[in-house]
Symmetry: C2
Subunit: 371 residues, 2 copies
């Protein structure tokens, strides 16, 4: 890559071809099964990359904050679900957005619904969030009374709050390993939310859509199930965690951070790079019993190598990355050269570095670069 | 606090009085013992907060990147050590900086020294980094041959590369608990680097200064030892990790993140806040056997409460913070209210949120906000 010569600081390299293939593969899978494909844009947070999805037929997207939705609305997206429990302190921004786009919100409490009933000035779609096992947010799947109560409350406000359906994120698949485990968890999560839908439709007479969508499940399940919509995000780039789960192949990872090598310690099989927690974030994955912060690749003319066997990011300080690399690979690493770090969690590395550099040297900014 | 009403997103609250007291306490300690106080500015990364140090007599500072040094040089600081192994890919920026300020660089390899010999165009100070047990960067303390070799190399370039001394960061104190452990480790680290200095001064005839400075050691050791300079950084704000180490008292922590409460799950003793890994970073500390992401405080008229006993940040996703809080405290937490999160590692939360809001409502930007 010609661009490597000009890189002096930690830089997120993006292989545009791989990313576009990842988009088209997931879009084709969703469309072949008749699902709405509403990809999560929190992974890339970039208007320019958003256009790649339009080319794959995407018209509806998922975001995780009001700020992100404002940004993508400003870039021509007019059907956005904010897949995060509604933050009622931002009611003014919500009302502003709802005025100009079809906005979807998540609720999982009477308090939030009551607040919206009193304060929403423009119609929004409302999804009730279901906890199918991740235990982050959402009403536990078996808490029928609570679902029924919220549905009844929302039924009384058909103009302002358009009850749309049930939504879950089965993010507990991120901790699994292998197709069998992931597909089993995805399938169970889908079965649970579909059973809940049947029960609630019978009890209330309201028709409910079902939205699901974690990257491991959507990548590995051949049959997405009788859901209406999927919302994966990470799949566009994948990362070390997704590789560990088995959600992708190593050559489907579309982003590495090019980091300058600043020190070398062959006696302890380690090098130190300029590339720390403020560049990569400090997320981790388990590599057997070992907690690691990413994988290591060699940069090449046409991109980067597959992750080096046995090599990993052992630690991250604010600016230091400490990489474990054994012989023979460490022998060829020179101080002043660049090496590739495969992020543990690419979404957070992007949020930290705030822009991409394609293999052709083009800079693609994200929302965070412009705010 | 009047300002709370206007807060709708994760916001770093700064208690200016506590921070200024922390600065003055450390400055007084250093000056009383005749040490150069060269505080690390990577913690706050703010020109305005930098001025508070000037009021405490500080004229020399530490940074961790060229970009940070450029920023502080632009704000009138003319004596800066970059306490990170020199990144020779940034030689042009280094030469530019060295033209306008007294710049100190770190080296720990012949490769870097040879590169500097060939490419430095303006005089810089050079510190040899010593690994006194953290095993991040630096030459192992006992590798006398390597030190002697580098000193001889540098002696031959007295005009461009001004060999200044030996520098270490005993960051392994961050993993300890209690004054006794920390002081023992600090004292050992100081003893080791002082012994190395004696040996090298005898062997080479060169006079060498000694620079040390981790926040736990500098906070807890009554006697800083026969070093010339200390470089702590975190002490201005402290954080959950420093509290866990015992490096500070709970009422000496100067920063919490105010986060909107978006969901509440009393049955599992948890609430969810808008405040995730992109706001707080994803650093952790061990609370006994449990890995946690921060502590929890209640916001009050005059700031915030001491951390709630038994409450902690259980997990962080990209935008979600999952807080464990038991009765009676969880009973009073309302959806739509704000709660305080004490960051695990405040330096990284600041890098993520990029600005402070004082209790009086003043916004103080950091370098990252302006770049």
């Amino acid at each position: 890559m010609k661009i490597l010569k000009s890189i002096t600081r930690p830089t997120l390299l993006l292989n545009e071809d791989i990313a576009k293939k990842n988009i088209h593969r997931m879009a084709a899978k969703a469309h072949a099964q008749g699902k709405i494909f509403r990809p999560h844009f929190k992974t890339h947070q970039s208007a320019e990359i958003g256009e790649w999805y339009r080319e794959a037929g995407v018209t509806a997207i998922t975001n995780s904050s009001i700020e992100m939705a404002q940004y993508f609305a400003n870039h021509g997206w007019n059907d956005i679900t904010i897949a995060f429990p509604v933050n009622i302190r931002q009611i003014d921004e919500i009302n502003n957005l709802a005025q100009s786009i079809q906005l979807g919100l998540l609720v999982d409490s009477e308090e939030s619904v009551q607040y919206l009933i009193q304060h929403i000035t423009h119609p929004v779609r409302v999804w009730i969030e279901v906890d199918t096992g991740m235990h982050r947010s959402g009403i536990p799947c078996e808490d029928y009374q609570k679902f029924e109560h919220l549905i009844h409350l929302l039924q009384q406000q058909p103009d302002a709050l358009k009850l749309t359906g049930l939504l879950t994120h089965a993010g507990h698949t991120y901790q699994l390993h292998g197709t069998e485990q992931v597909v089993k968890t995805y399938t169970q999560s889908v079965a649970d939310i579909l059973a809940l839908r049947s029960r609630m439709e019978s009890a209330t007479g309201v028709q409910l859509k079902v939205s699901v969508g974690d990257t491991p499940g959507c990548s590995l399940a051949d049959d997405l199930g009788k859901v209406d919509e999927i919302r994966p995000g990470n799949f566009i780039f994948y990362d070390a965690q997704m590789l560990s789960v088995g959600a992708c192949q190593a050559d489907q990872m579309a982003v590495v951070a090019a980091c300058p090598v600043v020190a070398k310690y062959p006696e302890r099989n380690e090098i130190v790079v300029y590339g720390g927690a403020v560049h990569l974030s400090k997320d981790t994955l388990m590599d057997g019993e070992r907690r690691i912060f990413g994988l290591v690749s060699l940069l090449q003319d046409d991109g980067w190598s597959l992750p080096l066997p046995g090599a990993y990011v052992r630690g991250l300080s604010q600016e230091h990355g400490i990489l474990h690399i054994t012989s023979p690979h460490i022998d060829s690493v020179e101080i002043g050269s660049l090496i590739g770090v495969v992020p543990a969690h690419v979404c957070l590395s992007i949020a930290a570095l705030r822009e991409f550099t394609t293999l052709q040297g083009k800079i693609i900014p994200t929302l965070m670069k412009t705010s």
